[in-house]
């Protein structure tokens, strides 16, 4: 199947449908993303905060800068460099790494499980001036 429309047009809510073993993962480290929403310019997903006292969102969901580089969907976490979240292939996103292939399917809002409903809440894009201590810097 061709990547009709490609990554940039693959907007919507994407959730893991299958998680299958994969012999050749290209030596990549897998991610644990279960659900994300992509609107063409931003991606909304849940992130963990590992340091006590570091700034975090109220519900652990973030609307992050996102961009497609060919078939790769890249996001920029609040305090880290750009990274590839998923690859668009055969009309859906997949994550490959750590010996597994996670295949996403597009779902409707009604299919979002209760513990992920916060992904639907309207939110402003993340402000990259935000420092880990919560203050805002003058630069992005």
């Amino acid at each position: 199947m061709a990547n009709a429309g490609g990554c940039k047009q693959a907007t919507g809510i994407w959730q893991v449908k299958e998680d299958v073993p994969l012999e050749d993962d290209g030596g990549r480290l897998g991610l644990d993303t279960y659900i994300f929403a992509f609107d063409g310019d931003t991606a909304t997903l849940r992130l963990i905060t590992t340091t006590l006292g570091q700034w975090k969102s109220d519900d652990d969901f973030y609307r992050l800068a996102a961009e497609c580089r060919e078939d790769g969907l890249y996001i920029r976490p609040p305090f880290a460099d750009w990274l590839e979240l998923a690859t668009f292939e055969d009309g859906r996103f997949v994550q490959v790494g750590s010996g597994r292939k996670r295949i996403f399917e597009r779902i409707g809002e009604a299919q979002v499980t209760e513990f992920n409903r916060a992904i639907l809440a309207p939110r402003e894009p993340h402000d990259y001036r935000r420092r880990p201590d919560g203050t805002l810097s003058s630069q992005t």
Binding site: I48, G97, P132
Partner: protein
């Protein structure tokens, strides 16, 4: 009790302690009186160290010996025979008898047993409290003797040797050492006085003690490391605190490494571990799996912005310090923050259907002075998530190795230079 409010010592009481000092320590102890030589003082001490009665009340030669010692130790102004034979004058003339309940005794024994594991130190403390030095253990005799001692000084008489009681005992031993004309460092009394002094510098007042140990030379340590579970920070009382106390605390930092794993057991299946990495606000953090630990420096990247530091207390936001006294790092790994990730882990893939998902975070926390590693505490925090209910257990803390070290473990050094290339700490 004579006109003094009881002072709560910060031991562990029903899981928490909430000591607050309402009286002050007595005036500092003087040096030995030039009119009393060391031999006299030694004889005085020897008399005082004879098998004690239950109340240690003085009489005859024993009273005279006691008075001589008290005078050498700075109580000259008292001009009275004190009710008890301490070098530092009690603040309560006739404290009522103290009776500890079975529960009190159990609590005191539990806490004292975590804090006092050194037989030589226990012998000195038991001796100064007037009970047999041996067996050099924490037992109910010790708790009762501590409680009686506490009552004499207006402290809360709970039998627990927390920071306030440690401070009093340190002053007592210092006074006795001074009276004996002992060198400023070394020897049983000075060693114990120093350790008690460092214990008394602890600033945290809540939680359950997991560990206490010493940094530096055995006979005159530089600092003390105290670990407490279920410490309080903000609205949460489920944190862990690691505190260094010592006069050099300004030059000491905490360097922490972390390896985390998540696992669940699907119906009819076997325990299955998460692989790959968890996506955090600081970027991907690799999961550990059995036989493949993925250690990382537990620091906020690029923080502080002006000079990024690997130290937990410098790069992070959960630490406290008191100048020339204390450096504390506080953590609370996982807890309710991982509910969403745990539910996602149980929703698809090899762990699908697991009713419970557990995250176990392992840590190695080092005390570092300059570029020198001095002490390591290995500890863990475990959270169990009920997937269906979307609820998380309290974080259960455990402790492994804790003691002086001279180097980073190789895997920690590898993790350090991976994140902070060229860092000189080894």
């Amino acid at each position: 009790m004579v006109g003094l409010a009881a002072v709560g010592d910060d031991g562990v009481r029903a899981g928490h302690d909430e000591g607050s000092e309402v009286t002050r320590a007595p005036a500092s102890v003087r040096l030995p009186d030039p009119g009393v030589d060391g031999d006299d003082a030694q004889r005085s001490l020897a008399l005082l160290r004879t098998p004690a009665t239950a109340t240690r009340r003085a009489s005859g030669a024993r009273a005279n010996a006691m008075l001589a010692l008290q005078r050498t130790a700075g109580n000259r102004l008292a001009r009275r025979v004190l009710a008890r034979d301490w070098a530092v004058a009690p603040t309560v003339d006739s404290p009522p008898p103290v009776t500890l309940s079975t529960r009190d005794l159990q609590g005191a024994r539990l806490m004292n047993a975590v804090l006092f594991t050194d037989a030589a130190e226990l012998r000195v403390i038991r001796d100064v409290l007037g009970i047999s030095q041996d067996p050099a253990v924490v037992d109910d005799d010790l708790s009762r003797a501590v409680a009686a001692y506490q009552a004499s000084y207006g402290l809360k008489a709970d039998g627990k040797i927390g920071p306030i009681t440690s401070g009093r005992l340190s002053q007592e031993l210092t006074a006795e050492s001074n009276a004996l004309g002992q060198p400023a460092t070394g020897g049983r009394l000075r060693r114990t006085a120093r350790r008690l002094h460092l214990r008394a510098m602890v600033t945290r007042t809540h939680g359950t003690y997991l560990h206490q140990g010493f940094v530096g030379p055995d006979d005159n340590p530089d600092g003390c490391v105290t670990v407490r579970a279920d410490d309080t920070l903000g609205a949460s009382n489920n944190n862990i605190s690691l505190e260094y106390t010592g006069e050099d605390s300004n030059t000491v930092h905490w360097l922490q490494f972390n390896a985390s794993e998540m696992f669940g057991t699907p119906p009819g299946g076997v325990r299955t571990f998460a692989t790959g990495s968890v996506l955090t606000t600081n970027g991907p953090a690799p999961w550990s799996t059995p036989g493949a630990d993925a250690w990382t420096v537990d620091s906020v990247p690029n923080s502080p912005a002006a000079s990024p530091s690997p130290f937990y207390d410098v790069s992070g936001f959960a630490s406290t310090a008191a100048a020339n006294r204390s450096r504390v790092m506080i953590d609370a790994p996982s807890g309710a923050s991982i509910i969403g990730s745990a539910q996602a882990f149980a929703a698809a893939g090899p762990a699908a259907g697991s009713p419970t998902v557990t995250e176990r975070d392992r840590f190695s926390s080092y005390v570092v002075r300059g570029n020198n590693v001095r002490y390591r505490v290995d500890w863990s925090g475990t959270t169990a998530v009920n997937v269906a209910a979307g609820s998380a257990s309290r974080i259960q803390y455990g402790i492994g190795f804790a003691g002086p070290v001279g180097r980073l473990r190789p895997e920690h050094r590898t993790a350090l230079v991976a994140k902070y290339p060229g860092n000189p700490i080894r």
